[in-house]
Symmetry: C2
Subunit: 301 residues, 2 copies
């Protein structure tokens, strides 16, 4: 067995990237243990916690991603892989509620069925970093209803709701009817929920509209818009909020305008105007590689 092991070692030298990552991981893990002088009992508690996290995962629930989310790691990984670049719209965490089955929605139509919440009109443009419109951008958007639930959280779901797929017109413009999303809790019944409780942290996310934009030649953008004023805006349980993604909802008190936009009951509605700026694939790649070079140059070269 010894000779076999040695032979395998020589045949497959460790890739420098793997070596670099594990060296850094073990260094920080040991520093954590040393600096806190973890007791034997505390370490056993940690082992048991991680075991429960793994055993809570199923085909439709990923508790380790949730742990990564609440420790701010998912947001950090996203930030490093999609660094702020010039005037480009910043990205944020995808979350677990995207589905592939959203309906195509024509410009001016609604992504939400009637009665799902307070009327919201969303409009804007999709531009490149030089300000040129990007026509034909596919914009996927999804959000909660007024109860703070995504459609997939209803056992009775028969078809997609509060989500849709739009395409920008020749001027890069989009516009659609929606509802004002509502703050909601991430799962609190598993080990991560119990951890948040132990840490005295709530498990709420501020209300937000998910947006995913794709156009040929441009870097896919996964982001969200966070209406200002939500009480959880500064304490998002998963650290998804970025200042540049906080938006203002205006109130339009015009029954005529509401009816003209297609809101069945008229009255008033909220208005969200927002432009998105996409990076080309080259611009995005250069930005990521600059971060990677900066972080690992000394270690790898």
């Amino acid at each position: 067995m010894t000779e076999d092991k040695k032979a395998v070692k020589n045949a497959h030298p460790l890739p420098p990237r793997t070596q670099f990552i594990f060296h850094n991981l073990v260094t920080h893990l040991h520093k954590f243990v040393e600096e806190t002088s973890v007791t034997t009992d505390e370490w056993m508690t940690a082992i048991q916690f991680l075991t429960r996290v793994g055993q809570t995962c199923t085909d439709i629930r990923q508790e380790f991603i949730l742990l990564s989310d609440v420790l701010g790691v998912s947001a950090l990984v996203d930030a490093l892989n999609n660094p702020p670049t010039g005037n480009a719209t910043e990205s944020t965490v995808l979350g677990p509620f995207f589905t592939e089955d959203a309906a195509e929605v024509a410009i001016g139509d609604s992504i939400a069925s009637e009665g799902k919440g307070e009327y919201l009109w969303v409009q804007g443009r999709v531009l490149d970093t030089k300000g040129n419109p990007i026509s034909g951008t596919i914009l996927e958007t999804w959000e909660t209803d007024e109860n703070g639930f995504y459609d997939t959280q209803y056992a009775s779901r028969e078809k997609p709701d509060c989500r849709g797929r739009l395409r920008t017109d020749q001027d890069g413009k989009f516009a659609y009817r929606a509802v004002v999303p509502v703050a909601y809790p991430i799962p609190g019944d598993g080990p991560v929920g119990h951890l948040l409780d132990k840490l005295g942290r709530h498990n709420m996310r501020p209300n937000h509209l998910h947006m995913m934009l794709e156009a040929p030649g441009y870097h896919k953008l996964v982001t969200s818009l966070y209406p200002e004023g939500d009480e959880y805006l500064n304490s998002d349980a998963v650290f998804g909020v970025k200042k540049s993604l906080v938006v203002k909802l205006k109130t339009v008190e015009s029954d005529a305008d509401a009816r003209a936009k297609g809101f069945a009951k008229g009255g008033s509605f909220k208005l969200l105007e927002h432009d998105f700026v996409l990076l080309t694939e080259e611009e995005a790649k250069a930005a990521r590689e600059a971060v990677l070079r900066e972080k690992t140059a000394d270690a790898l070269l």
Copy 2:
């Protein structure tokens, strides 16, 4: 819900130790992610690996402890909680093969049934830090047979073997017959085994004799002795070896001596002589607290 959450927060302020540990944990976790600029794909690989580790755990298998072992964390936690103190015998990792059912063995008797391996005679004394003998120390010892297996690894196990419970005499002395233990692999069929393979590391432990010593008023010592010369002594997969725990096995080529000691087939045998030095509970507590104070004084005070 908001008011409830706030009320809970105020009613249960976070213990300073919990706050200290999580602050340090998140700091190092984020530094690791930043310094390596982990890619989105790499992080997902890590999430999936941790999930598999959790899901490999059963009532009789703890893959997260194994992960902690192979990353050197278990050994570090042990070292911090049982710091080297004067002339006291150093501790090391307990491992997963201790059982409660070892038979009482009289001084000079055998812990191993005939045919379990090369004859080994173990003798020594148990002393306090001032050199006084500690009579009535309970010494639990367990080891592999010549195939590198503990008795519990045989499905056919009917009673304990290659393990025993001794008591030191009025001079603090102990002596027993055993077999020379054999190097063995830790479980290689799970995600931790696959990780070691990816990292080009073997999964072997050098041969060793487990020892656990308990005497009233003295700090329980969990340790092992590692015969010198084993090819894995400098690359123990779980980092359990300490220099002070490496021992020499002498060869005694005397049929008469072998038979006098009770080795049925006579011939020759290996001889291991080793004294253990125990800390009092007070000495051990003072040593641990000195480490804790040193590590956390600035943060907690």
